[in-house]
Amino acid sequence: MQQLLEQIASGLANGAIYACVALALVMIYVSTDHLNFAQGEMAMFSTYISWQLMNWGVDFWIAFVLTIAISFVLGVVIERAILRPLHNAPVLSVVVVFIGLLAICNSMAGAIWSYLIKEYPSPFPKATFGIAGVIGPHQLGVVIVTLIVLTLLFLFFRYTPLGLAMRAAAQNPQMARLVGVRVDWMLALGWGLAAAVGSVAGMMVAHIVYLDPNMMSGILLYAFASALIGGIGNPGGAVVGGFIVGVLENLVAYAGNMIEKTTGIYIIGNGEKLTVALIIVIFVLTVKPAGLFGRVVVKRV
């Protein structure tokens, strides 16, 4: 029983990581209608920028804010410089460009900061409380920050004219243009915002998984699964999806352990936990094709 609780708690803690990155994925999907495969690597690169700032003696929260700003600008620049010329290209071509970006971010970070893992500070106080062994103050902090970002995004997209314009630009560019939205700038803004959210995710995650150029490669897949199970256009769904995937994965390993303990037969273990969790996610998706919280879009022919 003790282990079950610990596994669930640890799953929630990991889920917070996935949720954070999934949020960035959803961001870019909502504002540009693409799934950005380079999102994780961009977030990793941003995290290195914040690390560099701190290394130069900048305080964590100042570096945090600065990094968000820098990432926003970088996101806008990438959109204007690399994706703008391709806005008429087929989706798959854009995917290949994302893969190119991924390769560049990853190798540049390695070349600049080396592949050695780096310690990354936690901004949250080192409190010890009842469940500290399982969910530490940092994990709680990550959850809170994720929820704050989520709320801000929700308010932004729901209640500000700019947010509404961005959504319109992504979902129906032609119509949006007709009502006076500057669609191309909205896309650039979307990239900036997604990069900013991604940098927050990176800076939250790095303390837990340590900072290295490959830190996001494993997480990104979990984040994809989280975003999709929650409904790819739904930020709240992505966060819930993150927690679901995190807990589910640990429960699979736990169940495998229990089976082995009681029957002595090895069926599933840690090696298969991701596979099994993904199979469950895919199964859920075949039943609810738009994700748990997504709305089915009715297509007009």
Partner: protein
């Protein structure tokens, strides 16, 4: 039919682009001239194992420094290092290119167990040395079947045997929990551990694995703690090792902790994991650690440090790969030097198999390179050390394993 003639043309012309392959000189074999020795290498410069790229870069730099000092017996080393991304099928492709097109004299320090597995048969059929491979698997010292393949570092298997013996001798009523990476390297350690435990193999109460892509190993550590283990065999790479150490401390689990040597770096593992959390961890070492203060005044360490400052300014000296690569490059240079004017592949292997108590810099004091025509394991000695304060504290004797 739409099938591409264009491609066929392209394919054919790819064939037609001639390589300017050097015609072998009569007195030497492929890859050697009066002025040059061509040495090949594969390394993961991209992909998940790219942390090891530092090895390839350091070797490259080392040979540059050798060349500047006049080369080896007047010949410059041309070091051709190719990226295989730690993908065995890619290794086969680039190694064939180096052997057949670039005409390398020997392949030096190809990295990764699966990658070396993929080319071992080819290298031995071709009779091209696959020298001082960068993997700790125990299969590289098999001169009877693979006379052109030789290992370098102490193998994982033997290291785990040593942990098992130490554990049995020192931990009363040991209940062992094992964390290992789910690949050949983790498997080698677990195999060694089981062999070392012998009839006491039942003392392993829980063995869990993780994937290199797992973001954290928290779930695994919880399982180990829950199994009631009082010994923690930590067979994982730097990142997972650091996470594991920290998580164990977070869970207030305080087992006797054995950590595999590849993750024993003070800067890359112990510091990120937290010095407080790392106290008392035991590991077996054969190399000095640049981040360990006890070597600050060591002559070899000082020489290495000066070399790094001169040749690789900006590189992270805390990265143990630089130390490793520096040492093995030194040995390779010496091997080539000993070949003298007779630069044949057979002679290279003969020289490599002829080291007696040869001191390679930055090995721990008392550890030397020993090889013979039947012993293709150059370094077989390790010494146990325990983490104390902010450094490793060597204890016990230098242990010589007999794994050949």
């Amino acid at each position: 039919m739409k099938t591409s003639r264009r491609t066929f043309v392209a394919g054919a012309s790819a064939v037609a682009f001639s390589g300017k392959a050097a015609f072998a000189q009569k007195k030497y074999e492929d890859g050697v001239t009066d002025t040059e020795i061509r040495i090949g290498n594969t390394n993961p410069y991209s992909g998940p194992a790219s942390a090891y790229a530092a090895i390839g870069k350091t070797i490259d730099t080392y040979f540059k420094s050798v060349n500047e000092a006049g080369g080896i017996n007047g010949r410059k080393v041309r070091f051709i290092s190719m990226d295989d991304g730690y993908v065995p099928s890619k290794t086969v492709e680039v190694v064939r290119q180096m052997v057949e097109s670039d005409k390398i004299f020997a392949l030096f320090q190809p990295l990764g167990t699966p990658c070396n597995n993929a080319i071992q048969k080819y290298m031995n059929t071709r009779k091209v040395p696959q020298l001082y491979v960068a993997t700790g698997a125990s299969k590289w010292g098999d001169p009877a079947n693979f006379p052109w393949t030789m290992g370098y570092q102490p193998d994982y298997h033997t290291e785990a045997v040593i942990y098992a013996r130490h554990c049995l001798a020192n931990v009363k009523d040991a209940k062992i929990g094992v964390l290992s990476q789910n690949d050949d390297y983790g498997r080698d350690y677990v195999g060694g551990l089981k062999e070392g435990l012998g009839k006491d193999v039942g003392r392993i109460v829980k063995s869990v694995t993780f994937e290199a892509t797992d973001p954290t190993v928290d779930s695994q550590i919880i399982q180990l703690k829950d199994s009631g283990a009082n010994v923690f065999m930590n067979f994982s790479g730097p990142k997972a090792a650091a996470q594991g150490i920290r998580k164990a401390a977070d869970l207030d689990w305080k087992p006797v902790h054995y950590l595999n040597n590849i993750s024993a770096s003070v800067a890359a593992v112990m510091k990120p994991a937290g010095y407080d959390n790392s106290q008392g961890i035991i590991t077996a070492a054969y190399l000095m650690d640049a981040t360990d203060k006890q070597w600050n005044d060591n002559a070899e360490m000082k020489a290495w440090s000066a070399w790094m400052d001169k040749w690789m300014p900006g590189a992270n000296k805390a990265d143990a790969n630089h130390i490793y690569a520096y040492g093995v490059s030194f040995l390779m240079t010496e091997t080539l030097k000993r070949c003298g004017g007779e630069l044949t592949r057979a002679n290279l292997m003969k020289q490599a198999a002829g080291f007696k108590n040869f001191r390679v810099p930055l090995l721990l004091p008392g550890i030397t390179v020993n090889t013979s025509p039947t012993d293709f394991y150059p370094i077989q000695a390790v010494q146990l050390q325990r983490f104390k304060g902010e450094t490793w504290d060597l204890f016990g004797e230098v242990m010589h394993a007999e794994s050949s």
